[in-house]
């Protein structure tokens, strides 16, 4: 059956093929994920130009990569943020920076990314194009190559806009060993800048929750900052990027994995006024709100000044500060000293943060 003709009478399943949908559609249709001409068109006319210089010359099913010196780091993450576009970024930036940061947190220099899209039927082509451009820009800025990818389209109602999975490969320099098991009592906990910014930026434009704020997402690739920190030669025990669950979840994970306790001083936490106010209104704890361009580093006490100075000299670490220390007491538990001198246990957030009723 050729394009545009209507079936006359019953379907002939023997020789039946899907009628080729309209090629010049303003929205994504099922055919764009079918692996045929429309899929190829999508790659050639949308992803390749969108990715620009960050794309490999051939975006095949598999990439053949040159040999590398050193240990490989490999990571994957999926991105489903809603809305797809928010102040200061989009799902495209997150999909690159998130996986780059996961590699960076083990000390790796990120090299290659794959990008796989699951797109809901009916998603405006223009939105997918903007996402692809954001992916390309972020990859270029991070110095990683986009070497292979995939696109699937799901029925209207089975998905929502664009979901992206990225997997990344990087190489870990000789001598770099970052692990929670290396944490020791007396170590200092550093955060690389203002916390809670990304989560508040996304919430500020979520449907039904819109509120005015000047906060923009902090989405950024952190491997440059990590490289500078490692180059100091200071004893960095472990690094993490406090994304979902915020600084609270990260520190709880570290305390639990290392068998040490962590004590924070709430007065030292870099919480911007807008974040604190938005969290106050929504009944959320800034420590549990997501970040996308910050890292938490646990550093040997004697090397803290050196590491902090280096971080502060980097544009992504200008507001880095010590927020607490590792202790032998209460293993696995994170305790915060409150502003007025009390203490509280800072628990791992359970699931989604639930806004309080009043």
């Amino acid at each position: 059956m050729s394009a545009g003709t209507q079936p006359s009478g019953g379907l002939d399943f023997e020789g039946w093929t899907c009628p080729l949908p309209l090629r010049h559609t303003p929205n994504v249709v099922m055919g764009h994920g079918g692996g045929g001409a429309m899929s190829a068109e999508l790659v050639e006319s949308l992803f390749v130009p969108g990715y620009g210089e960050a794309a490999a010359t051939e975006l095949g099913d598999a990439a053949v990569l040159p040999p590398v010196e050193g240990r490989l780091a490999f990571s994957t993450d999926s991105y489903v943020v809603k809305p797809m576009f928010f102040p200061g970024g989009s799902i495209g930036d997150l999909a690159v920076n998130g996986t780059v940061n996961d590699l960076a947190m083990v000390g790796a220099r990120p090299l290659y990314l794959s990008t796989a899209y699951i797109v809901a039927e009916g998603t405006p082509m223009e939105q997918l194009g903007r996402v692809a451009e954001a992916v390309g820009r972020a990859a270029l800025a991070a110095g990683v190559r986009l070497v292979t990818g995939d696109t699937k389209v799901v029925d209207h109602g089975s998905g929502d806009g664009v979901y992206i999975n990225t997997a990344g490969v990087g190489v870990v320099p000789e001598g770099v060993e970052l692990a929670a098991s290396r944490m020791r009592p007396g170590d200092r906990v550093i955060v690389s800048g203002a916390i809670g910014v990304h989560g508040v930026a996304v919430m500020s434009c979520r449907e039904g929750l819109e509120f005015g704020t000047t906060v923009e997402s902090d989405s950024a690739a952190l491997h440059g900052l990590v490289a500078d920190v490692l180059a100091t030669g200071g004893d960095v025990r472990v690094m993490r990027d406090p994304t979902r669950g915020g600084v609270s979840a990260t520190l709880n994970e570290l305390a639990s994995a290392s068998g040490t306790g962590v004590v924070l001083d709430e007065r030292l936490l870099p919480v911007p006024a807008e974040v604190r106010d938005a969290c106050g209104l929504l009944g959320l704890d800034p420590l549990q709100v997501a970040n996308e361009g910050k890292l938490v580093a646990v550093v040997a006490a004697e090397d803290t000044d050196r590491v902090l100075k280096t971080m502060c000299a980097h544009p992504l670490g200008a507001e880095a500060t010590v927020i607490g220390e590792v202790v032998a007491d209460h293993p696995g538990v994170v305790v915060a000293r409150t502003g007025i001198g009390g203490t509280r246990v800072m628990d791992m957030p359970i699931g989604e943060q639930l806004p309080r009723i009043c």
Partner: protein, 367 residues
């Protein structure tokens, strides 16, 4: 935002604490009525900094916690229906009914949405006229005006596909019930500042007189709470029992006349069951007959649902200030925020959840 920094100032907090320590000679049991105050006291560690002579008893002022199981089950029954968009404040989603919670209903395909205002739910009803939009209208005098406004607007605009599942409760009858209890230990109250910002302070002098207790209208930031505690202790030490307003920046004596007029129009006083406490006469609001068409219980015929509470959960005693959360045998064992048996463990304003979240260290250290 002004008032956050100013009312958390560590030096001023220290000064107030010194005054409280200086003033306290006796043993006093104070109740903060509102769950928001409980949260703030535990969150900032205020109770750890008070003199040994002062005990803070956590009151029944968490709207999520006192909403009876039967009402939750009614909500779940309504939310399950395919034609319904069930809108709620976020806190209520994890509150367990007798079988499920709203999260479970949502995962099973129920259209459950978190909103920040009942007026958002009304807007959804206008946008989707073919669906039935129900808002879960719970809470104290604080959340009631906005709910009243939503119903009032729905009637005025003829939005027939909007309704309210109402379980509003009132603070003064709860104070009365606590004072009438034979096991009552409370000697002074921090009244809930935001309730008074709506209703004013006129309901409290008769209570202070009848039960000979000081009642101090108190806010929510650390300095507000310390000032409320200080004033209550000073009254107790001097043998006075008066109503004082320590939150004048939000509470005028007459309250908010526009909100009160709206409440009077939409609601009428009714007996209410409080989870863990039981029925308190004339302690809540229901929709007045003029607005009966907007009553979700009637519209979805769920009036008959009546569920008994968990047998091992002692949230009722916690809510009445008879025990502290860790004194419940299930606390931190069978009952945790991840697997809550009672509502006081569910809401972040619930006393059990606040103890679990912020005080687990004491329990860890105690083994």
């Amino acid at each position: 935002m002004k008032y956050l920094d100013e009312f958390s100032d560590p030096d001023l907090a220290r000064a107030l604490l010194d005054q409280i320590h200086e003033a306290t000679t006796g043993q006093w049991a104070l109740m903060e009525v509102c769950g928001g105050q409980t949260h703030s006291i535990i969150r900032h560690g205020i109770d750890q900094l008070l003199p040994d002579g002062i005990e803070m008893i956590h009151g029944p002022g968490c709207p999520v916690c006192v909403t009876p199981l039967a009402v939750i089950d009614k909500a779940l029954e309504i939310a399950r229906r395919p034609e319904v968009i069930f809108c709620s404040f976020g806190d209520m989603l994890r509150v367990p009914g007798s079988r499920d919670d709203l999260f479970t209903i949502k995962s099973q395909g129920g259209d459950v949405r978190v909103v920040y205002s009942p007026l958002d739910a009304l807007r959804i009803a206008q946008d989707e006229p073919e669906r039935e939009v129900v808002f879960f209208g719970i809470g104290f005098e604080t959340t009631a005006p906005a709910n009243a406004m939503a119903v009032h607007q729905a009637r005025r605009l003829g939005v027939g596909n909007f309704s309210l599942l109402v379980s509003h409760v009132l603070v003064p009858p709860a104070i009365e019930a606590i004072m009438e209890s034979p096991s009552c230990r409370v000697q002074g109250f921090l009244a809930a500042g935001h309730v008074c910002s709506v209703m004013g302070t006129s309901e409290y002098p008769p209570l202070a007189q009848r039960y000979q207790v000081p009642i101090v209208v108190t806010g929510f930031e650390p300095l507000d709470l310390l000032e409320g505690i200080r004033r209550t202790v000073v009254q107790l030490e001097e043998g006075r029992h008066e109503v004082e307003n320590a939150y004048p920046r939000a509470v005028p004596a007459e309250g908010n006349p526009a909100a009160k007029a709206m409440l009077e129009d939409v609601f009428e006083v009714t007996d209410r069951t409080w989870r863990g406490i039981g029925e308190i006469p004339r302690s809540g609001w229901r929709l007045s007959p003029r607005y009966a068409d907007f009553d979700a219980e009637r519209r979805f015929s769920v009036e008959g649902i009546d569920t008994a509470e968990s047998a091992i959960c002692r949230s009722g005693e916690v809510l009445q200030g008879l025990i502290k959360p860790p004194q419940c045998e299930a606390f931190g064992r069978e009952c945790t925020p991840r697997n809550p048996l009672g509502a006081t463990m569910v809401s972040s304003e619930g006393a059990c959840a606040a103890y679990y979240a912020y005080r687990r260290l004491d329990l860890v250290e105690a083994g």
